[in-house]
Structure formats: structure tokens, C-alpha cells
Amino acid sequence: MGRRLTLTVFRHNPREASSRPGTRDYVLDETPGMTLFVALGRIRDEQDPGLNFDFVCRAGVCGSCAMLINGRPGLACRTLTAALPERISLFPLPGFELIGDLSVNTGKWMRAMSERLRAWLHDAGDADPDRLEAPMEPATAEAIYELERCIECGCCVAGCGTAQMRPDFVGAVGLNKIARFHLDPRDVRSDADFYEVVGDDSGVFGCMSLLGCQDVCPKGLSLQTQIAWLRRTLARQGW
């Protein structure tokens, strides 16, 4: 006989004038190997067709299912109910625009952040599709790939006290992106250019090293290492 779970889920639809933020309890029987994705799907199928939540890949790749699970940011599709107590509370990620219930608009935040940080490759402008690409050291390629694993789920923003207090803070996700392009030999930007976008208290110097980001990142990125490195590199721009 499996456990009987009680899920306390945040319910609110901001586009409906009569909707008031609140929670609703759902009771269901745990099945073997059940993830929160499975649990929420069953609730929507069997108990409450109006429940909003986001899923795409169900495999921890797309980053759309992040939510507060018993207070901690995490991916619902990668969280086994067996790892949780019988009472589970689910809230939307704080710090992002609420779409409804557990669904938040992380995409809007991430896009604004990326545009602000110019988080794309700035090459010398002489890209030629007919020419063979310059080879890259395998070690460099691997280091870049490691940082590219970020899925922009927003957990690090929700787990960061600084980002919660100061909405203009770029978060570990933003700093990680800068570190990624800094590594890339094809990117022509200098330290001074990177300092330009993250060299202040809404960027790397705003980070208070609380390391919530590091501890909740579902991809296990070593954000502490990246932020400390970025801090050392950009601190030199003070002179």
C-alpha cells in the first residue's frame, strides 16, 4: 500500500478580476516512480482541469517546469514524490511574472536579461559560411559546453536572496552567461566590455555570495566558481 499524498497548490489567475490568491489541497495515491509531473498531470486529469502548470520535455531539459517545492526551487519533472514528505506544497517561482497557478513567465525575464547583457556571441563580423571554421581546443570547447548546460529554468533567481530583494539583479544565470562568452575565443569582447554590462551592483558586485543559486541549480552548474572567477576578473577593471 503506497502513501497517500496531499499536495497544497497555489491557485490564482491574475487575468481574472474575481480570482484571489490562495491554495487548494489535492489528495492522491502515490504510485511507484511518481514524479511531480505525473502527480500534477493526474490532478489535472482527475480532479481539476483548470490547474495551470508548465511542462514540455519532462526530462529536465527545457527548464519550463521549475517551481517552489516545499519552499525550494526545483524542476517538477525531475522530482520524485518518494523523495518528499506526504505533505507537499507547490508554489510558483517567486521573482517572475505570474501567468497562472504554477506557471510563470521565465521566458520574458530571461529574454530581457539576455538583451541587457548582450548574451550572444559577438564575433569579429567576418563570418564566412564557405570557409572552414577555425578549430577550437577540445578543453575550451568542453568548458564552454559545461556552462551551456544552463536551461534558463530560473531556479537560481528564485533561490537567490539578492535577486529577490533587488529585481534588477541579473542573477547567477546572467553571470554564468557572461562567463560562458568570456571563455569563447570567437567572442571579441574584452574584459572592459564585459565590465560594462555586469560591472556594478546589479551585476557581479551585487552578488553577496549567498550561494542559494549553486545549491538549487538543477543542472548542478558550479555557479560559485564562475561568479568568483568573474568577480576576480572584473575587479581588475577598477584600475
Binding site: M165, D200, F205, M208, L210
Partner: protein, 259 residues
């Protein structure tokens, strides 16, 4: 939710708006001043605790910093100089750290709720940092000013009289707790802030272990030292104000009072 998307900022390639170098400098200054104060705090505790060895040991340390063993007579002004330096660094550090304090009611509640919900040690430690830092705005200057203007009154009886007959022990007790907790967390934070660890998880576990070990060690040392001064101060309460004369130290000088 309350989070507006980040505001657009001037283009990073604009030749007209180079960002100020000051955020980098301020960040380094905050860390540097914190490092200095943290190490000073531990050294200071080492000196103060020599009272646990014997009054003569503490007397020797106090005279040492007055240059007695170099110049043959004590110059308490030397101590004042060091105190002035520490005071200045403290003011600088407090000014810089103030930038990180929650600024208004919303920020306080947001952080408080966040810390409560997350159940995350490092985040809670930051709240401790804010609280103890705030306490020191008021406690540290009292002690520092006293040392600045009366550096010659550092000695077994002199200090003990201040602690007990002068009514300083409650201040020292709270200050001791605040300083040790704040400094310990601060030094730990400095390490994770600047050092890029290969394996952050295990490095942090070890650092936290070390940090709490140091904090407990210095707190216990501090409490025992304070107790020793209280005891000495009680015993000496009848003759409060009398200067200490070393008993066992070679070539004991006649105490000079500053004019």
C-alpha cells in the same frame, strides 16, 4: 509578482558612457577592509586572552604594544595610532557594507520570507551578518573611543576595573558575540566570494566546519577572558583606579601615567 524585467541599459559599446570603475573598487575595498578587521579581531582576542595565563602576561603584551621593550619606556600614543587606524577601517567597512543592507520594508520582508522558505544555511547566515553588523554600529565605537583616548588604561587591573567597576562588561559581552559571529561569517563569505573552488560543495563543507570551529574557539576564549576580567575587577573593586605593577616580570618599570 513584483519582479519587473531588468531595465534596459546603455549599449556596452557606446563610446559615450563608460561605466565607472568605482563598483569594482568599492567591492574590493569592502572585502579588503573586512579581511583586515576579521584578522585583527582574531589577533586582538589572542592578546586579550593572555590574561588567562597570568596578569603579568597581559601586562607584558600591553606594554609591548606601547613600545616599552623597544624604547625602554611606554608610549601609549602608539596604541592610539593603531586604534585610530582600526577605527578608520571600521568606518569605511560599515559605510560600504551599508550598501548591502535591505533598504526598505519591502526588501526586509522579501528577504525574511525568502530565508524562511528556502531553509538554506548560507542565506540565514547573511541575516545574522546584517543583525550583528547593525549592532556593531553602536557597540564598537564605544569601545574604540575609550581605547583611543585612554590607551594607557590597558592592563590587568586597569582593564578589569573598566570591565567591572566601570560597568563595561554588558557591552563587552554583546560586542564579543557580535564581533565573533560577524567576523567568522564574514571571513567564510570572503573565501566563497573570491576563491574559485574546483569542487565548491566539499570546499564549502570544509570551510563551514573550519568557520564554526574558529567561531566557537574564539567565543569560548573570549567568554573565559571576560570572566577573568570580571573576577579580577570584583576582587579589585575596592582599589579601583589603582595601576597594576607586575610581580614576576624582569626589570619591572615604574608605571608612568600620561600627563
Amino acid at each position: 509578482m513584483n519582479n519587473a524585467p531588468p531595465a534596459p541599459r546603455p549599449s556596452p559599446f557606446s563610446p559615450f558612457r563608460r561605466t565607472s570603475p568605482w563598483p569594482a573598487r568599492l567591492d574590493l575595498l569592502q572585502s579588503g577592509s573586512g579581511l583586515f578587521l576579521g584578522l585583527f579581531m582574531w589577533a586582538h582576542m589572542g592578546f586579550v586572552s593572555t590574561i588567562l595565563i597570568s596578569p603579568d602576561a597581559f601586562w607584558t603584551v600591553a606594554r609591548f604594544f606601547e613600545g616599552y621593550f623597544i624604547f625602554g619606556r611606554p608610549y601609549p600614543g602608539l596604541v592610539s595610532l593603531v586604534v585610530a587606524l582600526v577605527f578608520a577601517v571600521l568606518v569605511l567597512h560599515a559605510f560600504l557594507a551599508l550598501r548591502k543592507f535591505p533598504g526598505d520594508w519591502t526588501q526586509y520582508t522579501v528577504f525574511w520570507r525568502h530565508a524562511g522558505r528556502l531553509g538554506h544555511g548560507d542565506t540565514r547566515l547573511w541575516l545574522l551578518q546584517v543583525a550583528t553588523g547593525f549592532a556593531m554600529f553602536f557597540l564598537a565605537p564605544v569601545h574604540l573611543y575609550q581605547m583611543l583616548v585612554h590607551p594607557e588604561l590597558i592592563g590587568p587591573w586597569e582593564s578589569a576595573d573598566r570591565v567591572w567597576s566601570g560597568g563595561f562588561w554588558p557591552l563587552y559581552l554583546v560586542l564579543l558575540l557580535a564581533v565573533e559571529l560577524h567576523g567568522g561569517v564574514g571571513l567564510y563569505r570572503l573565501a566563497v566570494k573570491w576563491i574559485g573552488f574546483r569542487d565548491p560543495a566539499s570546499a564549502r563543507r570544509r570551510l563551514l566546519f573550519l568557520k564554526w570551529g574558529m567561531t566557537v574557539f574564539f567565543l569560548v576564549l573570549g567568554l573565559f577572558s571576560l570572566a577573568a576580567y570580571v573576577k579580577l575587577g570584583m576582587d579589585h573593586a575596592d582599589q579601583a583606579g589603582e595601576r597594576y605593577r607586575p610581580v614576576g616580570v624582569w626589570n619591572a618599570p615604574v608605571q608612568e601615567t600620561r600627563t
